[in-house]
């Protein structure tokens, strides 16, 4: 009897935290509750692209349209970059980087996954593409491309998205993604921001100060 | 139909006018009303303070007084909610269950059971309606601002049957007044501040009277109004619906 108690005691003592936690949960002996059905008829929009664009603008994103990568490149060079430069008082030369081969010539190409992410510390503008967007909240799905930190560390972010890839809501988004296999990915909706000081909105907390989206026809 | 009038303890002692108006209004609408004499209290003051286990005596007395009636009607949403949620008895489980289903707050009794469509009442004043939380969120006397659902209001519907009344819109239409039972003394500072803010909303919007279906909230707000020597008064909704 005494040795049994001792065994029990030492078992308790040497039981891993993992086992302790699992045991405690099991001991709570909750009756299984079934999973609910999926949300029926979530909101859809007559013109999801319009809705996407309205919501994006409301959170401080610039929404632009372009026919082709070349058109994006032209617009960036002739209009958008000078605008950003003036508005934010950026000094030349800008460090522009991109993960898109189409931006060759305008931006430095990131092709090496082993690049030290700290080396991107001084990037002024990053040009990347998003897989799809969501109309209800203007979020864009940006999977890891080359360097994980790129869309966060740059001062200004430009994302290209196919306007046929604007979904209505988040349920459609996860349906499209399935289980996925991205090591990392993020929904990005607008420039980095904070309202921690008296609820006044300030753009450019730690991540990009601005976000521009090119809706590709 | 035989209705028992349940008059909460503090209404009996401090606001008999609200109970009288309830009784007269129901009689005017052709209801036979009795007032069981032995009644005291629903037990909520103890229960909300964590002493529900001491409410056994209260419960037995309540059951003794109110069993056997078709309906039990009371001019207090909070007490009704307490009875509906917590009345129980090991000695008389059926009777307590029965009572829990037959107890109604006055405005829900008028709208849901009597289905009152018109009232012969006149109250030529600007009136602000205080939505007492237990009536509104507990008994669902009116739609709650937090929910995404269609609006309705049982007290509002009845007040709109009163001639010459003008209902004022509030900035925060269903914020708590801060009475909260023993909260009003245990958390004195916050309770008074909540009450002041609620009263200020009514005053800002020009209310001459603040009404509601719960006298306890009105008692709290009256204390603040009178402290500030305000001309605005509180009045139980039964008194408006019963006015000529």
């Amino acid at each position: 009897m005494r040795s049994a108690l001792f065994l029990l005691f030492t078992f308790e003592l040497f039981m891993s935290s993992r086992d302790k936690i699992i045991q405690a949960i099991k001991a709570a002996a909750l009756e299984e509750v079934p999973l609910p059905a999926a949300v029926g008829n979530p909101i859809t929009y007559e013109d999801p692209v319009q809705k996407f664009s309205d919501v994006a603008k409301a959170v401080g994103t610039s929404v632009l349209e372009a026919e082709s990568h070349q058109a994006v490149k032209d617009h960036l060079m002739q209009t958008y970059i000078p605008e950003v430069q003036t508005r934010w008082g950026l000094e030349q030369p800008l460090r522009m980087v991109s993960t898109l081969p189409e931006m060759e010539g305008l931006a430095e190409q990131i092709t090496d996954v082993a690049l030290d992410p700290h080396s991107l510390e001084n990037v002024d503008m990053a040009i990347m593409s998003a897989q799809f967007g969501v109309a209800e909240n203007s979020a864009l799905w940006v999977p890891e491309t080359m360097i994980r930190v790129l869309p966060f560390i740059c001062q200004h972010l430009v994302l290209l998205v196919d306007s046929r890839q604007i979904l209505n809501n988040m349920h459609e988004a996860y349906e499209k993604m399935g289980l996925g296999d991205d090591s990392f990915g993020a929904f990005i909706a607008g420039p980095s921001k904070t309202a921690d000081i008296e609820q006044s909105l300030v753009l450019g907390a730690h991540g990009p100060r601005s976000l521009a989206i090119y809706l590709m026809a | 139909m035989e209705v028992a009038l349940f008059v909460p303890c503090y209404v009996d002692q401090f606001y008999p006018g609200a109970a009288r108006a309830t009784l007269e209004l129901l009689e005017k609408l052709g209801v036979k009303v009795s007032y069981p004499e032995g009644q005291t209290c629903c037990g909520q003051p103890m229960a909300n303070s964590g002493y529900e286990h001491l409410t056994g005596g209260c419960n037995e007395n309540f059951i003794k007084c109110f069993q056997g009636y078709d309906y039990i009607v009371s001019p207090s949403g909070s007490c009704v909610l307490h009875v509906k949620d917590h009345l129980h008895s090991d000695k008389a489980p059926e009777a307590s269950n029965e009572i829990r289903h037959r107890v109604f707050e006055l405005t829900e009794f008028l709208t849901d059971i009597l289905k009152v469509k018109q009232l012969d009442a006149r109250f030529p004043h600007r009136v602000g309606v205080h939505q007492s939380c237990h009536g509104q969120r507990g008994l669902m006397l009116s739609q709650m601002s937090e929910l995404t659902a269609s609006p309705f209001s049982k007290p509002g519907m009845l007040l709109n049957m009163v001639r010459d009344i003008e209902l004022v819109e509030l900035d925060r239409k269903d914020e708590c007044c801060g009475f909260g039972g023993t909260f009003c003394v245990a958390e004195e500072a916050v309770s008074v501040k909540m009450g002041k803010d609620r009263v200020a909303d009514h005053l800002r919007n020009g209310a001459e009277f603040i009404t509601g279906a719960d006298m306890s909230c009105l008692m709290h707000m009256e204390g603040i109004l009178r402290r500030n020597k305000s001309a605005t008064k509180v009045i139980h909704i039964a008194e408006i619906l019963n006015s000529k």
């Binding site: 935290s17 699992i22 001991a27 349906e175 | 601002s145 925060r172 909260f183 009003c184």
Partner: protein, 460 residues
Amino acid sequence: MHTDKKHAALADIFNKDEARVNWHDQTLWFVRAKRDRLTHDLPEWEVLRDTASQIKNHALSRLQHYLQEFEEQALANGVQVHWAADAEEHNRIVCELLKKKGIDRMVKSKSMLTEECHLNDYLAENGIEVIDSDLGERIVQLAKEMPSHIVLPCIHKKKEEIGDIFHEHLGTEAGVSDPQVLTETARQHLRDVFITRRAALTGVNFAVAETGEMVVCTNEGNADMGAHLAEIHIASMGIEKLIPKRAHLGVFLRLLTRSATGQPITTYSSHFRRPRKGQEMHVILVDNGRSRQLARPDFKNSLKCIRCGACMNTCPVYRRSGGHSYHHAISGPIGSILAPNLDMQKFADLPFASTLCGSCSNVCPVKIDIHNQLYKWRQELVKAGYTDKKKTIAMKLMASTLASPSKFKFAGKMGRITLKYAPFTVNNRFNPWYKGREMPEPPKQSFREWYKGRGDFGSS
């Protein structure tokens, strides 16, 4: 911040400055109003709440299964999994991970769990410096305070006070209080931190059992800046954060930020599945009382909480007493039902810091019946003896009076006589009612007396 004062006393202090109470109330009401605008725009809002609630109920009912599934997936993804039975063990694990790599400085993004565990203090005692990178948290950290709100940590501070803190610690000019300027200063200061720290700790908003991934939501991008630059990323999560399937994220991400701040979604919803090349990723699964709460039938569903803070923004008591009056890392209504599980004696006051108005339960995106649990905690605490003995005596007296019609009649008469003939015995400074309110005017007759005069008794 350590205090022996209870909620009522702390709230009383907060209410000494009425203009500030008004400002605090209105700032948070503004957030509640933003939440209303967004939620009322979505016809399926209530269905979403129902669905989320049921998913969480399901997940909690099979928690050991989902924890094991998550562990398996995370390990397969190359994430190292640790289990911590309590706060102390959690802190020790973090400390050991850092020591093993010879790291003595870490950057941390918002994690209420680490506040609950008092991680920063523990690491400081062990020679490790932690810098909080969420702007609000950095501000309270510099001020040596606790967050007063789980989503808006420094909502209790005015910009002028923040200006003073920045002047003292970050070298801004004295008197500068423009949020734009202060935020820019913090950006520069924290960029330097992100670039130089080899370790980053983040919280977890949702962990998906099916894929082993962890989702972290921020507006500032601070979790990402920390994690993607550090060579070791530690994610700390309570075991209740698990959801079964990836598709469920669709439900929760729609609810979280609309409820929290009235935004359609946070700027960043980052899905961490595998460490990047050359990086270590760790997850610590923390119990710290959660399995105990799970075994309490009346309180288990408090574990559905997704930490949106909507119950705080709507709570009329929270808005007028400030987060610090709850003397716990998680304040407001949800804190008041979670804290007693951690320490009944210390937090016995919190379930009473409410009028039970029920607004919290109505805004809760996962439909926790917060106000009912406050009521039930009161019963538990009284039964366990954690209330004032004088109150117990008074309540017993009250119960016996109210149980007896004759005693009640007599007491009522006495009460009214006292009011009418000797108002000074009641209307004095010892009566907390009278401090800010007049007593009701005693009527000549009670209703009962009037009714008797009508001659109707005996009709039933």
